[in-house]
Symmetry: D2
Subunit: 442 residues, 4 copies
C-alpha cells in the first residue's frame, strides 16, 4: 500500500484512529452486554460510553505504552483507562486480546468489501454504458492474436461486464465469509465470558457469530477472502491487457484518455502510452500474490499462534487498498476510453475478406464437399490473400475474387451463394441474445 496507489476512502479503514474506534466499540458493546447479564455495573458501562464515545484516541500515547508493554491491546486499554477513569476496569472482563483484534479485523474487512463491491458497481456501470454505445460497432475478433471473425466492441465490453458481475458475486461471498465476530476468551471456551456477550456484540457490529473460535477466528475465512481478491484482480488484469492491446500502434482501436498537459514520454512527444492499464497489470500481480501468504496463514498451531498477524497487518491494507485503487482506475479508464470505430473497420478490412473463410468452409461442407476437401479449397485461396497481406500490410488479393475464380469452389457454390457469405450482419445477428443474457431485458 503506497499513497500513489491509494484512495482515502479505503486507507481510512486501516488508520490507527479507525482501528482504536472499532476496538472501543467492541469493548463498549461487550461491557453493555456484561452489564445486562449482571457481571459489571450498568453505571460503569454507561460511563464508558459517555467518556469515550466522542474521544479521539491518542495514537502516539498508545504507541508509547506499547513500547513498554509490547502488547497493543493492553496499551489501548491503559490509554482508555486514562480517558474513562476507574470504570475502565470493567472493560475487557473475561475477554482476550484476540476477541477485540479479530472482531475488529472482521469489521475492517467487511467495510473494505463494501467499498470493493461499490467499486465493482462503478466498473459495471461504465462497462454497461460503453457496451450499449458500441453494441453494434463491428470489430475483428482475435484468437491467438490473429484475426478470426467479426464481433462487436460492445460484445467485448459485455464479456467484461459478465466477468465483473461474477467478481461482484465473489466479493459478496468473500464478505460473508469474513463477517463474523468472536468474543470467546483465551481458548474459545467462553470460560470467563458468557456467549451472550458475543451474540450482543456481533449484532451491534453487523456480524454473525463465529460458531467455534479458538482465541482466534479461523484463518481459512481470511484465506478465502484474499483469494477472492486475487481472482478479482486477475479480471482487472484481463480488461487492462485487452485495452493495452487495442492501443498498440499497429492496432490503435482504442486509447486511454490523454489529458491536455500530460506528457507521454520525456523523449518522444507524440507517444500516448497506455500507462494506466499497464499500471493495472502490475497492481493485479500484487493483489494476486497476497493470496499465497493468506493461505499459508491457515495452519496456525493448536488454538492459535500469531504468525498470521504480521501478514495481515501488511496484506489487510495492501490488498484492499490496491484493489480498490485498481478498480477505480479501471472504471475511469473505461468511462473515458477513446474508441475508434473507423479504425476497427479499417483493421478488419485489411485482410481482404479472410474473416469470412469459415463461412465458405461451412457452405462447402453443406454442399457435400468433405471436410478435408473443403478445408483444402478454402486454404489455398485464403493463403494467397494472406500472403499479399503479409507482404504489404493490406491485402492486395481479394478473397471473394479468388473464390469466385476457383473452379472447384464454383463447382459447389454459385456466385450469389459465395457473395452472401461476406455479409457482416451475419455475425451480428445474435448480439441481442447475448446482451439480453448479460444485461437482462433492461
Amino acid at each position: 500500500m503506497i499513497p500513489r496507489y491509494s484512495r482515502p476512502e479505503m486507507t481510512a479503514i486501516w488508520e490507527p484512529q479507525t482501528r482504536f474506534r472499532i476496538w472501543f466499540e467492541i469493548e463498549a458493546h461487550a461491557t453493555d452486554a456484561l452489564a445486562e447479564i449482571g457481571v459489571v455495573p450498568k453505571d460503569a458501562a454507561a460511563k464508558i460510553w459517555a467518556m469515550a464515545k466522542d474521544a479521539t484516541f491518542d495514537v502516539d500515547r498508545i504507541d508509547e505504552i506499547e513500547r513498554v508493554t509490547k502488547h497493543d491491546v493492553i496499551a489501548f486499554l491503559t490509554h482508555l483507562a486514562e480517558i474513562v477513569g476507574p470504570e475502565a476496569r470493567f472493560v475487557h472482563q473475561g475477554m482476550t486480546s484476540s476477541d477485540v483484534l479479530d472482531t475488529c479485523l472482521s469489521v475492517q474487512l467487511v467495510r473494505a468489501a463494501d467499498l470493493l463491491i461499490a467499486d465493482v458497481d462503478r466498473v459495471l456501470a461504465a462497462l454497461k454504458t460503453r457496451a450499449f454505445e458500441h453494441k453494434l460497432t463491428p470489430t475483428i475478433g482475435r484468437s491467438h492474436g490473429i484475426h478470426a471473425e467479426p464481433v462487436t466492441f460492445g460484445l467485448k465490453l459485455a464479456e467484461a461486464f459478465a466477468e465483473f458481475s461474477r467478481a461482484r458475486a465473489r466479493l459478496v461471498f468473500a464478505r460473508q465469509e469474513i463477517a463474523t465476530c468472536a468474543i470467546s476468551g483465551a481458548v474459545g471456551t467462553f470460560a470467563n465470558i458468557d456467549p451472550r456477550v458475543e451474540d450482543y456484540v456481533a449484532e451491534k457490529m453487523g456480524l454473525a457469530v463465529e460458531p467455534v473460535s479458538t482465541q482466534v477466528i479461523p484463518r481459512d475465512r481470511h484465506a478465502m477472502f484474499f483469494a477472492v481478491l486475487g481472482v478479482v484482480a486477475s479480471s482487472v488484469e484481463r480488461l487492462a491487457v485487452e485495452i493495452r492491446h487495442l492501443q498498440r500502434t499497429e492496432v490503435l482501436e482504442a486509447e486511454e484518455y490523454f489529458s491536455p498537459g500530460q506528457k507521454g514520454s520525456s523523449a518522444m512527444p507524440h507517444k500516448r502510452n497506455p500507462v494506466l492499464t499497464e499500471n493495472l497489470t502490475g497492481l493485479a500481480r500484487m493483489v494476486r500474490s497476497y493470496a499465497m501468504p493468506a493461505m499459508e496463514n491457515v495452519a496456525l498451531w493448536h488454538e492459535r499462534d500469531i504468525s498470521h498477524s504480521s501478514v495481515e497487518r501488511m496484506i489487510g491494507p495492501d490488498a484492499t487498498v490496491t484493489l480498490d485503487f485498481a478498480l477505480n482506475r479501471l472504471a475511469g479508464v473505461v468511462e473515458k476510453l477513446v474508441i475508434y470505430p473507423e479504425r476497427m473497420s479499417l483493421n478488419m478490412d485489411r485482410l481482404g475478406g479472410l474473416v469470412h473463410s469459415q463461412r465458405i468452409l461451412l457452405a462447402l461442407t453443406q454442399k457435400g464437399v468433405s471436410r478435408e476437401d473443403a478445408y483444402r479449397l478454402v486454404q489455398r485461396n485464403a493463403m494467397k490473400v494472406w500472403d499479399s497481406y503479409q507482404k504489404s500490410g493490406t491485402a492486395t488479393v481479394d478473397f471473394l475474387t479468388e473464390l469466385l475464380g476457383d473452379p472447384e469452389v464454383r463447382a459447389a457454390l454459385s456466385e450469389a451463394e459465395i457473395r452472401e457469405k461476406f455479409d457482416l450482419g451475419y455475425h451480428l445477428k445474435h448480439v441481442d441474445t447475448i446482451f439480453r443474457r448479460v444485461f437482462g431485458d433492461a
Copy 2:
C-alpha cells in the same frame, strides 16, 4: 499428479478415454440439436449415436492423427469419422474446438467437484464421530504453543468440523462457478451455430449456459475454482499440523494409526512417525501453489489465446487428484486416530495449576484490585510455579498452595474462593453451546 497420491475415482475423470467420451457426448448432443432445428439430417444425428455410443475410442490412433495435424479436436473428429462413417461430416457443424474442449473441461471439473464434496463429507463424518466421542475429554488449549486454558479434544475436532463445513460450501460455490457450457463458435457470436444448440447441450450435460463466451469460457471461473481448492487444501494442512503437534514425543496426546508390519524408521525401531499428516502438509503446499498459474491464466489475449491450456492440462488433474487423495487420507487419519485422554490430563496437570491463572486474575479484579496489581500478584506466584516446571518438566511448586500463602492475594480472596477457581468443569460449561452451534441439535 503421481500414482502414489492418486485415487482411481479421480484419475478416471482425466483419462483420455473419459475425455473423448465427453467430447463425443457434446458433439452428439449438439448434432441432435442441429438436427432439431433443421441444420443437419435427423438420420445423421441418430446414426452418430448409434455407431459411437458404445464405442471405445482408440487413444493411440487419435494420438497418431494428432502428430500429423497438431490439433487434438481435428484428430478426434477424424477418428470419429472412422467409426461413424460419412455422417460424421454433420458433426461439429459451426462449432469451434473450444466449444468441445471448454465444455468438456467444465464437465470434468464438475465431476471432480462432486468427488471432492463427497470427500469432504467423509472428513466431516469422521470429525463428527470423533468429536462426540471426545466431546468432554479435557485437554489443554495452547496459544503460541504455550499452555493456556483447558478445552476439550472434542472442541478441537468441532473447530475442524466447522472449518470443513465451510470448505464444503466453498466447493459447492466453486462447482457452480465452473458449471457452464459454451457452444458459441469461433469468437462467441453464434455466427455459425444457433444459440439453441448451446441451450440444448448445456441441459444435457448438466451445465448452465455461459452468458457470453469468446471462443472460450472465461478463465476467471477456473481461477476461482482452483483458488478454492487452494483454500480447502490449507484447511487440510491445518488439521494435519495439529495432529503432527499432538504426536510429537513430548506431547503424545494422539497418534496416527500404525498398522502391524509398518516400519517407522530403518534405523530406530521404536519410532512411530506422523508421516501421513506430514505428507498432507506437503500435498497442501502443492494444491495451494496451483492457484497462482490459474489466476495468471485469466488475462488471455483478446477473444482467447491458448496459454491457459498447458496450465490446465497439468493443474486440472494435479490439483483435483491431489486434493481428493489428501481429503481421503485425512479422513482415514481422523477415523483411526489413536487418542490418549490420560496423556492429555497428565500434560495439563504438569503445570501445577497454572492454567487457572486467568480465573484468579479476574477474581482479584472483581474484588476491586486494579488490573495492574492483580496482574502483578498473579504473575509473581505463577512464575514460581513456572520456574519449577521449567526445571523439572513437572511443576514441583503448586499454584494453588502459593496463592493460598500469599497475604496480598488472601486479602482479596478467601481460601474457598481461591479453591473454587481450580474447577475444570468451569471451562467446559459451554461445550454444549458450541456443539449445538456446530453440529445443530442432532
Copy 3:
C-alpha cells in the same frame, strides 16, 4: 509433468529404475568405504557390486514390498538382498534412509541441471545465429506497445541471448547449490557411520560433502534450485511473448514455422497461430509456481520432517521436465522462426516519420530552444501525423514535410538539418558495440 510436454532425456532421470540404480550406487560405494575402514568385509562389498551392478531392479517387486512395510528404502534393501544374497546385510550399515534418498535427489537434480544447461546452450546457439542474420535488419522499437525509435531485429535477439546467458549462469549456480552428498546418519551426527564414508561416496557420485546435515540435506538448497528454474522459465516467457506479439495479425513481423499438414484452426483455414509460444507462456506459469512450495519446504521441523517429500516427488520431475521441454521448444521456435524484414520496414514507415521525433526535439534544444518549447513544437507537428495515422492506419501526413513547413521550427533548424534527422543509420551506429558486449569479439 505430462507426456505431451516431456522429453525422454529428462523423464529418464525420474524413472524408478534410474532412482533404484542411483540408490544402489550410493549404497554400494558406501559399502566400499565401510570395507576400506574395516567395518564390513571387503569380500562382501565386492560381492554386492558383482551381483547387482548390472541388475535390473524389479520395480513392481519393490512396490509390492513397500505396500507392506510402507517404507521405500527398506523395500529396496529387501529386494536388493534378494539379488545379492546374505552379504546384503552389510549394506546400509549405520546409514539412514535419507542418506540414500537425499543424495539420490542431489544426483538427479544435478543431472537435470546439466540437461537444462545444455538446453540453454541450444537456445543460445539459435539466438546467436539468428541475431547475426538480422544484426542490421531495422525494425521499430516499441515501448508500451507504441512505436518508439528504430532498433534492429538482431538487437532483440541479442537481448534474449544476454538474458539466456544469465539464465545459464543461474543454472550453474543452482547446480552447485544442489550438488551435495549427505551420509551422516539418523540425525546427522555420524554416530554410526564414519564421515569418511560420506567423503568417499560424495567423490564417487560427483558431489560435494554437505557440511552439516540433519538426517536430511537442508532444503534451502532445493528452494534456491527451484527458484532459479522459475526465473529461467520467466525468461522463456519473455521471449515467447515477444514472438506472440510479432505474429499478431496487425504486426506480422515474424511467425512460428508452420509445417505442411499442420492445421491452425478447425474453423478458419487461413489462420496460423503462435501456439508454440502461447504454450510456452503457460508452461512458464507452471515452472514459476513450483518455486512457492519449494520455499515452503525449507522450514522443516527440528532435524527433519517428511513434508518436503511429497512436494519434491511432484515438482522434482514436473519442474525439470517442463522447463527442459520448454527450453527445447523455444530453441526450435527460434531456429525456425520465419522473419519478415520487409514487413518490419513497412510497419515502421507507417507512422510517417514520427519515429524520428526525438531527434528533432534534441536538435531544437541544442539550438537553444527551451525544453518546454521544443516539446510543444514537436508535439504539434507530430500530432497531425499521428491523427492521420490513427484514422487510416498509414500516415497520410508526413512528419518531415510538416516540420519543414513550420516557421517556428525553421527558425531554429535549416532544411538540411531537419532532413539529416531522418537518417535510419543514425540509430544503428552502435549495434556493433552492443553485439561486441553481448557476443564478444567472435
Copy 4:
C-alpha cells in the same frame, strides 16, 4: 512495508529524498560525461553540480509538478531547473526516463543488498557465538517431531550458520545480478547518447554496464534478486520455527528473551510466548510471496512496458525492508536466546534410553543377527519402554534393563556390550569434524 517492521537504515534507501539524490547524481555524472565528449559545455556540467550538489529536493514541489505532467522524471527535471537555472537544459540530453529510473533502482537494490548482507553477518556472528557456547550441550535430535538420537544444541546452530552462510552467498549473487547501469536511450540503441556516458556513470555509481538494455534493464535480474530474498526469508522461517518448537510448553528447551515489563498475555500472566519467532514466520511468508510478481514482471512487452513499475514501487521497499527487519530481529533472538541445557537432558532422558535403540540394532546385525530379526528384537523391547512413556510422560520401563533381560538379545550381546551402547559420548564424537567443516579451523 510498515513502520512496525522497519528499520530506518533500510527505509532511508526508499525515501523520496534519497531517490531524488540518486537521480541527481546519475544526471549530473551523465552531464559530466557529455561535457567530456563535447556534447554539452563543461561549464554547464560544473554549474549543475555546484547548484544542486548540496540541495535538498522539494518533494512536495516535485509531486505538485507531477500531478500536472503525470510524469515523474519530467517533474524532477523541472524542479531541478528551478534549482540549477538555465544550464539545466543540458541535463538528460539524449537520455530517457528509464535510464535514470532503472539505474537508480539498481543503486537502491545494491544498497539494500549491502544492508542485508550485513544483517546476515550479524545473524552469523550470533549463531557462531551461541554454537560454540553449546557445542557440546547434548539435546535430543528429532525427526518427524519424534525423539531420534542425541545431537548437541551447538550442532543445531551450526546447521543454521551453514544455512545463513549460503544465504549470504546468495545475497552476494543477487547483488551482482542487479548491479548494472543503463544509459542507452529510448530503445537501448544509444542513438542519442554515446555509450561512453553509460560507461562513465556506471563506474561512478559503482555498477557494471548493462550489456544490452531496451530502454529498461531486463527484469530477469530483478526477478532473481527477489527470488533470492524469498529463499533467504525461508531460512529465517526455518530457524524461527525451530525456536518456536523449543519454546512450546512440553519442550521448553529454549525461550526468547522476555524483558521485564513485557506482558505475554492480557489474560494469562504466566505465559511467555515466542512472539518474535512467530512474527518472523509471518514476515517470511510475505517476503517469499514477493518473488511471484517479480517473476511475472520479466515478460515485459517488446522493448518495455511499465507494468513492472507499480510492482517494484511496492516490493522494492516491502521485500528489502521486511527482510532487513526480520534478519535483525532474528539476530536479536539468537543473541539473547535463553537456553536450558538441563531441560534438554531431562527431555532426552524421559524416554528411558530409547534413543540408543539404533546402536543396539547395529550391534545385533554386526553379531550376525539378520536385519529383520534385529529389528524385531529391538522393537519388542523398545515398545515396552515406549508404552510406559506414552502413559506417564516419563518412561517407567528402562530400555537397558529390558535388553539385559531379553535372552535372545543376550544370546548375541554381552552385558558389557549392551551397556557400552548407552554412552552419550558416542554420538558427540564427530561434533568437532562438523564444526571444522562449518566454521573452519578458527
